[in-house]
Symmetry: C2
Subunit: 324 residues, 2 copies
C-alpha cells in the first residue's frame, strides 16, 4: 500500500488492521488540522474501541521520559500493547524529529507492541488541547488498549492535556520546595497518583511528607492520591507505580466514575470545539486582528461588552458558512 | 420625577445626579436583562467614574452580613459614601424583599451616604456572573466610590462574583476543618484577605494557623493574604480588617496590578458575554433543548464534536440576526 497517496479512509482502515505506518500518517493528519483531520475525527469517533489513558506531567528534568520508558517495559512484561504520545506545546517539531536521539526509541524501536509518537500543534483548530483527545481516539481505534501521554512542561496547556486522561500522574523530585511548586502550578488538583522520582537523592521523605500534608488539606472524599517513590533509572518502585495506576483505573471503573468522566470530557470537548470554531469564524469575518481590536475597544471603554458581542455576531451571521 | 415611566436614559441621568431611587430602578433593569439593560450597560460603560470594589464571601453563617455592616460603619466614620450589593444566586427575590427584616437596613436606612441593595438573577443574559459587573459599573457611575459585594453561599457562582472585585475577603470561623473546607471550595486561590470571624470562640488560633500553613504551601510572590481575627458583633478587629483592605488596594494601585486586573476582567467579561450570546442564539436557532440534544449525541458517540459544532454554527448563520 502506498501510504503517501492514500485517503484518510484508506489510512484509517489500514491502521485499524494494525498497520503502524498508516497510524503514524493518520496522526500527522490530525496534527495538521483542516478537512482531512475532520474526516479522521469522524471515523475514529464511531469506533467502539476504547483505550485506557494515563497522563504523565511534571517539571522538566523530573525524569518523566525515563518513567514512561520503565512503565512501557512493565506493561510489555505483562504482554499488553501500549502507545506513547509525547506532547510538547512549545515545539513545532513532531514525529521522529525530537525523538530520534532518545534512548527509548532505540530500546523499543523493534517492539511491535509499542507505538511511540511525539506530537506538536501544526495547525489543528484549538491547538494541542483539542488535537490530543482526537489523537487518543485514533490510537484507541487502531487497537491500542493503553496510551501514556507524556507532556514536556508544566504550563497550562500541558496540565490540561495531561489531565484530559483517565489517570493523571504527577512527577516531582526530592528537592526543597518541589511539592509546593507542584501545588502552585495547579498539579495537586489534577493528580490521581503522585510520584517522587529520583528518590535516592536526599530529601525524598520530606517531599513525600509535604505532599501528604497538602493532600490532608485539600483532598475530597472518594480517592486519595497515593504518593509513590521511584528511581526510574534503576527500575525501583516502577511496579508499585504501575500497581497504583491500575488500582486507580479499577477504582474509576468500579463506581461509574470512568464513564461519567469520559462523558464530561466529551461534553467539554464539544464546547471547546464550538468556541474555537466561533473564534475562528469571528477572525475570518472581522479580518486579521479584528477580534483583538474589539477586545481593545472594550478594555479602553470605547465599546461595552454587549455592543462588542453584537459586532462579532452580526459579522459571523452576515458571512456565509462556506468556511465550515 | 415619575420614575415608573422614565426611560433608562432619564433614570441614568437622575442616578448620576445622586437620585438613589433612580439608581435602584436602574439596578432592577440590569437584573431583568433585555433591551433596557443593554441601554443602561452602554451608558454606564462610558462613565469615567470608578469605584473600588470589595467582595466578601464565605460559608453561610460565618457572619458576613454583620461584618459588612461593621465595615460600612467604619467607612462612614471616615466620611466616605459606600454601596452594598448583596448577591444570592439561589434566590429569585431581590430589592427590598430579602433585606426588609435585616438589622442593617434599620441601622443605615436613614443614612444618605449608604446605598444597600440585594440582587438576584431575573433574566439577565449569563445570570449573576454577568449582571454583577454591570451593576458595579452602574453604582460607580452613580458616584459611589466604594462598593462591597456580599455573596450568600460558597458555590461556584458566588466565588466567581466575589472574586470579580478588586479585593476579595474570605470569611471563615474558628471551627475545626473550616480553613480546609475553604481551601477545598477554591477560596484560597481567590482570597486577598482572610478573616477568622467569631474569633472569641475556641479554636481561632488553630484556624489561623491552618490558614497560614496553607498559605505557606501555595502563595506566590507579590501579596501574601493577611489573616485578620474579628468579632464582628462587638466590632473587634474591624479597624484592622478595614486597614488590610485599604493596604491591599494601595498595593494593587502601586504596581499597576489594579489597572491590569481591571482590563483582564473586562476582556474576560467580553468573552463571557459573547459565549452567552452565542449559546442563546444557538438555543433560539436549534429550538428548545436542541443544544442539549447535540451534547447527548456527542457523549453517546453518535456525532463527533466537530460535526456537532458544524450543526450549531450553520443553524446560527442560517437564522437572520433579528434577535440581537
Amino acid at each position: 500500500m502506498t501510504l503517501r497517496h492514500s485517503s484518510p479512509t484508506e489510512l484509517y482502515a489500514a491502521a485499524s488492521d494494525g498497520d503502524r505506518r498508516a497510524l503514524a500518517r493518520l496522526l500527522s493528519l490530525v496534527e495538521r488540522g483542516g478537512a482531512p483531520s475532520r474526516q479522521v475525527a469522524a471515523l475514529a469517533y464511531r469506533s467502539a474501541r476504547e483505550a485506557a489513558t494515563v497522563g504523565i506531567t511534571g517539571a522538566p528534568g523530573s525524569g518523566k521520559s525515563t518513567l514512561v520508558d520503565r512503565l512501557v517495559a512493565a506493561v510489555r512484561a505483562e504482554g499488553g500493547d501500549v502507545g506513547v504520545l509525547a506532547v510538547d506545546p512549545s515545539s513545532p517539531f513532531s514525529g521522529g524529529a525530537i525523538l530520534g536521539d532518545r534512548v527509548r526509541m532505540q530500546e523499543h524501536a523493534l517492539d511491535e507492541g509499542v507505538f511511540i509518537r511525539s506530537m506538536a500543534s501544526r495547525g489543528h483548530l484549538g491547538g494541542l488541547a483539542l488535537a490530543v483527545p482526537e489523537a487518543l481516539r485514533v490510537l484507541a481505534a487502531a487497537g491500542l488498549p493503553l496510551v501514556l501521554v507524556e507532556t514536556v512542561g508544566v504550563g497550562q496547556v500541558e496540565v490540561e492535556v495531561a489531565s484530559a486522561t483517565d489517570t493523571t500522574v504527577v512527577v516531582v523530585n526530592p528537592r526543597w520546595g518541589d511539592a509546593i511548586q507542584a501545588n502552585k502550578a495547579g498539579l495537586l488538583e489534577v493528580a490521581d497518583v503522585f510520584v517522587v522520582n529520583k528518590a535516592d537523592n536526599p530529601g525524598a521523605a520530606e517531599t513525600r511528607r509535604d505532599l501528604e500534608q497538602m493532600l490532608d488539606l485539600s483532598v475530597d472524599a472518594g480517592w486519595r492520591p497515593p504518593v509513590v517513590q521511584t528511581v526510574a533509572t534503576s527500575d525501583d518502585g516502577i511496579d508499585v507505580l504501575w500497581g497504583e495506576i491500575r488500582r486507580h483505573q479499577a477504582h474509576l471503573a468500579a463506581d461509574g466514575t470512568l464513564e461519567r468522566r469520559r462523558r464530561d470530557r466529551l461534553a467539554r470537548e464539544f464546547r471547546a470545539v464550538l468556541s474555537a470554531r466561533l473564534a475562528r469564524d469571528a477572525e475570518h469575518a472581522l479580518g486579521e486582528g479584528g477580534l483583538g481590536a474589539l477586545v481593545d475597544d472594550v478594555v479602553e471603554h470605547r465599546l461595552d461588552p454587549y455592543a462588542a458581542a453584537d459586532e462579532v455576531i452580526s459579522a459571523i451571521t452576515r458571512r456565509s458558512p462556506d468556511h465550515a
